[in-house]
Structures are given as C-alpha cells and as structure tokens.
Assembly symmetry: C2
Homo-oligomer: 394 residues x 2
C-alpha cells in the first residue's frame, strides 16, 4: 500500500505544513477540513454538492449510526460509502465524545461504557474492541480509537484517570484492529494540563498509530489554552504522521492551528451556525437576519465563488430565513462550507509557495472573530438545548 | 408578439390536447404541471434542480410576497425572476384564494378586501386594481385575476354572490392591466353548481382573456363532482386558449383532467406529501417511514430517473426521515416533482403519438390512488393545523 501520509511542503516561519493523505478512496491534500455528517449526511447537502464545494473527506459518527439505522443495516447495504453515496474518503469518529456527553445516561468502567440511547432509552454496552469492529463494519478509510473525553472543567485527578483509561483503550483498539485498508488513528487526551498532555502524547505516539488526533479541546476553554496545548503536544508526535485536531473549525482557528502544525480539522460549527443564519465573510461572521440585509442587492460575500453567492442576493437569503424556508439552511450551509474549504485551500497554497505567514497575517487582520463572550454564550445555549433534549453533544 | 397559445395535437378519443404556451421567458409545452413556490422558492430546491427536473413554469403567490418581503423590495431588486434566480416562465396567483381562507381575519366588500396579515396582524386593503398592479410589479409572465373563492360547502346563494363579484372584479383587473408582455388569465368560479359554472364560464369567456382558469375546485368535494364541473365548464371556453385547473395535482387527477381538456395544473400536493414522507410510485403513494423500507436496498421507484432514485436506496431515505434530516425533505421533493413532471411529459407524448387513451388506461390501471377517506382526512388535518396557526390555506 502507498504510504498513508507525506509532507510535501513546510513553512519556514511557523510549524505549518502541507501534505497528502493517501486513502483507498482517494488522496486528500492537507491541511484539510472535514465537513461533519454524523448521521451519514452533511445536513441539507447531497454528495454531489459536497464534491462541488471541494470537500475531500467527510466525517460520520459511529455512535449515531450504531443507534440508527444500526451498523448491521449499513453493512448489509454495502457499507457506509455506498449507503450515503459518497465515494471519496470517509472518516468515522468512534463516538466516545458523544457517549461521554450523555452524562447521567452512562456508566463507565475499565471494560467499557454502559449507556442508554438518547433515542429510546435502550441500554447498550460498548467496549474499545466493539467500537473498533463497528468501525470496520462501517468501512470508513480512517477510523478513530475509542477514548474517554471528560468535560474540560474536571480537575486534574479526574482528567488523569480518563487519560490513563484512554491509553489502555488505545492499545486494545490497536490490538483488535484487523482491516489493513483502514487507518486507525490514536487520540491524545489530557485536558488543558501541559504535563498530562505531554505524557499522553508520548504514550499514544509510542503505540505507533498511522495518525494522531488531539481530543478534548474546543470544549469551552479559552483559545490561548487550546493553542498552548497544541504547542505542548505536537513536538511529541512523529513528524511524518498526520495530526488531526478534533472538533475545531472556526475560520480563525483553522489559520491559528495550521500555524501550530495541525493537518486535519473537523467541526460542525460552519454548518450549525449557517442554519442559524450566521454567514462567514472576509470581515467576520454576519447574521443574515439583520435588517441591514433586507434590501441588500449584492451577495453576502461578493468575493465568494460558491453557488449561493453566485446566484442570490443577501436580500433573497434574508427573505428565506425570515420565512424559515428550508432552502435557506441549504444555501447558508453551501456558503459557510465553501468559505472554510476555500480558506483551507488558500492556506495550503500559501504554505507551498512560501507565503503562509503573509497570508495568515492578512486573513487574521481582516477577520474579526466572534468575540469570546458571545461565542461562549452561543456554545452554552446550544449545549444546554441539546442536554435538555438529552441529546449527545454533537 | 408571438401567439400566446397554440394547440399542436389532440386526442381523437378524449378532450385531451397538447399545446405550446409562448411566454417572454420561454415556451411551455402543455399539458404542464407548475411546481408551487409561494414565497419565491419551491421548498428545499434550487432553480438549477427545478430545471433538471424538467420544470417549465413555476408558480409564486402575490399574497405571500406582498406581505413578505414586500412587492416593492422585489421590484427594487429587479423583479421576481431575478429575485429567485429563475429565468424561465413564471406565473403569479393573485392571492385571492389565500386571503379568502383567512376566515375571521378578513372583511370583503365590492370595492375589495380588508384583511389582517397572518404574520403580524397588520391591516391591509386590496382591490382587484391593486392586485393587478402588484402582479405587474412582480413581473411574472402569466398573472391571475383577483377572484373570490368561497369554501365549497357554502350554499348556492353565497356561491352565486361570490361568483358575481368575481365577474365584476375580473372586468376591473382587465381594465387595470397595462403590461402587454404579461398574460392576464380570467378565473371561472361557481362552486359545484353546474348552472352557475356554465354561467360563470360564459361570462368570463366573454371578457376575452388570453387564458382561463378554473378556481374553487379540489377544496374537498368528491372527485366525481370535480370531473363533472370540468365537463360542464370547458365547452364554454374558447378552444384556442389555455385552460388552467388551479390547485390540482395528484397523479391520477392529472391523467383524468387532461382527458377532460385541461392544459395546466398547479398543486403543492407533490411537494407537501414529499415532506411528510409520502412518495409516489407507479403503484401509488408509499410512506417511506414504513418499516418495510428499513433495509430496502433498491430505489423507492426503480423505474424513476430522478437524482434521488439514481443515487439512494429506500433504506437511506427511510433513515434520513427517521432522523428528521433536512436532506430527507429535499430528496423526497425531487422524487415527487420528477414523478409528476415525467407523468405530464409522458401524457403529452402519448397525445402527440395518438396513444393517450392506452397510456391513461394503463397508468390508472396500475396506480392506486390514496383512498378518498384517507385523502379527505389528510386534507382536513392539514387545513386545521394551518388554521390553528392562522395561516392561509396554501
């Protein structure tokens, strides 16, 4: 088999790098952003549209698909690629993050996790071995180790315990893993504790996974803490393997974290805020529901090459959102996904031609991030609403 | 200007006919089915998709667009075609049907209708003249006279009064109408009373509209009554003008009513039932939520040439509906619209090659209509839910 990952360019002034990830379903240029399709669909979009947007890998979620429609149904129908009609690279998350966000609905032991389905209350027991098997049955190109992902607010003792368990489970996933055509990635935990992160990175790196992920970040901690954690961790991971930052995907984060050496990102943020009318522009996120857009003849982002911006005025989008028309959510999703995918493409190009630092300074100079307080408030509201409905986080 | 309508083929055994409707935005082969895009969007779909499905004319609604975003906003942005990015033929309904369904929210006089917006309770007064102007400002290719459309259950006296008013208003619309590039269609009313329908058809025909519509049907009356009413009415309308049956669009109705001489149809039924998981097949409507589809590997309708059937199993659609994923509503809408548009295309072809009778017998022989009771019950529930929310019917 072809080598999974190859670095093809580096930035002399930062840790940024460009690479190629070779999977059985195609090559993925990195840095890469993975749109989230937890239930086997990137909300509102068809696979055709995802390709047009430039999506190169899609993320689906084992927890969600295990509960519904059931992994055996998908296997019977020819696997996840065929089920969702996506013939490009796929990555499945193990579902650890979702299960651990269920709170009182789950009980954890070294053996595995006992939890109740958020859908019908039925009881399930999943082990690292079973989750690995499930991911083999789904058939994604990249699969993830089953990890314990505690809330970032837990104390050092609790996070240490979860990290140790994540390590034992990582080994068990690796031992159980059979399919040579799938790359199993290890996940580094350790919260925001520098020592613990370094310890976890060292341990997980020692297990010789073909790729490494950073879990347990972007859970509400200040951005500086996330950046520092990446900086503590990456030097301990092998240079020649891909580094995947899970759950991160705001435009400013992509730029900041590529600069620190990250190769892959996934996040539901661009699609989730799109459905709430939050649209990315070069200047920052705008709410299309703002009355200033009522008669706005131009596109929401005139510099954008997406279908939405090429065809519709901001006024039309504003109208669709006011009417709660289903097309609104779709057009907004197309725009936001294209925005982050184009950003990643621009980042990669700038790494390859040696202008990454200029590019990132210029981008961050124009782009006004949603302020930390507003962001925290949005996140809190969203998590609260999911927890009220007893839904997992993501 | 080119002649608006031309009959290019007739069926020797029935009143079915094939024609061409020439509009400033393109030629429409008839019989034609108009997808409903009341608020300037056919729910869930882009104009590109509508073209791919074979849609030739789209219907939008003056009442809805007048209230939101406002006709002057659309005019300022270059008209309705540009606003919704549809460069093909457009038809606007006058909104009479919607306003008269508002019940206690409106008061009618000979001068016009005083009503309260279902959105914010604001008071509005519309006259036949104003509605004609509004439709000129929106800029559709075909516009409709402002008519009074009473519930089908009203008695002869009430229906006669509404019909007489519709006649006076039709004359006023015609007198007010200025734009020679728009075809203003007259609407025949008269409920299910044969004499009154004949009287209305005669009167409206005498006003020399370029096209004629039948309003006030498919409001809950038995199908036989609707068929009889069409049979009473059409002989009184000029043969060389298009005949448009408003609000009708179940597959069996299309076949039955083309056989009686109808050239144009619009209906939200195919798109509305799609969003509820009701999918058309050659055998009849199926609920995709039925558990028989949970592991169904084939397309919902293997004979179908739509994007949905070409790419996805019924099991995947079932999964998306169970998850209430937004893609579900879109894929189902694509399928149902393609089903009725292909049906209309097949009907036209069969008229032109002289096989319409055989085609219609074969189609109706296979297609099991949703039974009258279930249909009435669905319609009742839908209207009730709209009325509870004080929404207009449609």
């Amino acid at each position: 088999m072809e080598q999974l990952f190859q670095v093809v360019g580096t930035c002399p002034q930062s840790a940024a790098r460009a690479g190629i990830l070779a999977t059985p379903h195609g090559r993925v240029p990195t840095p890469a952003f993975l749109p989230v399709g937890s239930q086997g669909t990137v909300k509102t979009l068809t696979p055709d549209e995802l390709r047009t947007l430039g999506a190169t890998v899609i993320l689906a979620n084992t927890y969600h698909l295990y509960l519904r429609p059931g992994v055996e149904v998908i296997q019977e129908l020819g696997g996840l690629h065929r089920f969702m009609d996506w013939d490009g690279p796929l990555l499945t998350d193990s579902g650890g993050f979702q299960i651990f966000s269920l709170g009182h609905l789950r009980r954890i032991s070294d053996e595995g996790v006992l939890f109740r389905s958020h859908l019908d209350g039925s009881e399930h027991f999943l082990t690292p071995e079973r989750v690995t098997e499930l991911q083999e049955e789904l058939g994604a190109d990249i699969i993830m180790a089953f990890d314990e992902c505690p809330p970032y607010s837990h104390d050092l003792g609790a996070i240490r315990q979860a990290t140790e368990r994540t390590h034992r489970w990582a080994r068990r996933c690796l031992e159980r893993h059979r399919r040579p055509d799938q790359a199993l990635f290890g996940i580094v935990q350790g919260g925001i504790f520098a020592e613990l992160r370094r310890y976890s990175a060292g341990f997980i790196a020692s297990l010789d996974f073909p790729g490494y992920a950073l879990g347990g970040l972007s859970l509400g901690e200040p951005k500086e803490m996330m950046h520092a954690t990446i900086e503590h961790t990456l030097p301990l991971l092998p240079e020649g393997r891909p580094r995947y930052l899970m759950g991160v995907g705001s435009p400013e984060d992509l730029v900041e974290c590529v600069a620190r050496g990250i190769d892959m990102f996934d996040s539901a943020l661009p699609t989730r805020v799109a459905r709430n009318g939050g649209l990315f522009t070069r200047q920052g996120r705008r709410s299309i529901l703002n009355s200033c857009f009522q008669r706005w003849e131009g596109a929401i982002d005139p510099a954008c090459d997406c279908y939405t911006c090429a065809h519709f005025s901001a006024a039309y989008l504003h109208h669709l959102f006011k009417c709660e028309e289903l097309l609104a959510y779709r057009l907004a999703t197309i725009h936001n996904l294209r925005f982050v995918i184009r950003l990643i493409e621009d980042i990669r190009r700038s790494i390859l031609d040696g202008s990454f630092l200029t590019f990132s300074e210029e981008f961050l100079g124009h782009y006004q991030p949603t302020d930390a307080e507003a962001r925290a408030e949005q996140k809190r509201k969203w998590l609260e609403s999911r927890r009220r409905k007893q839904l997992p986080d993501g």
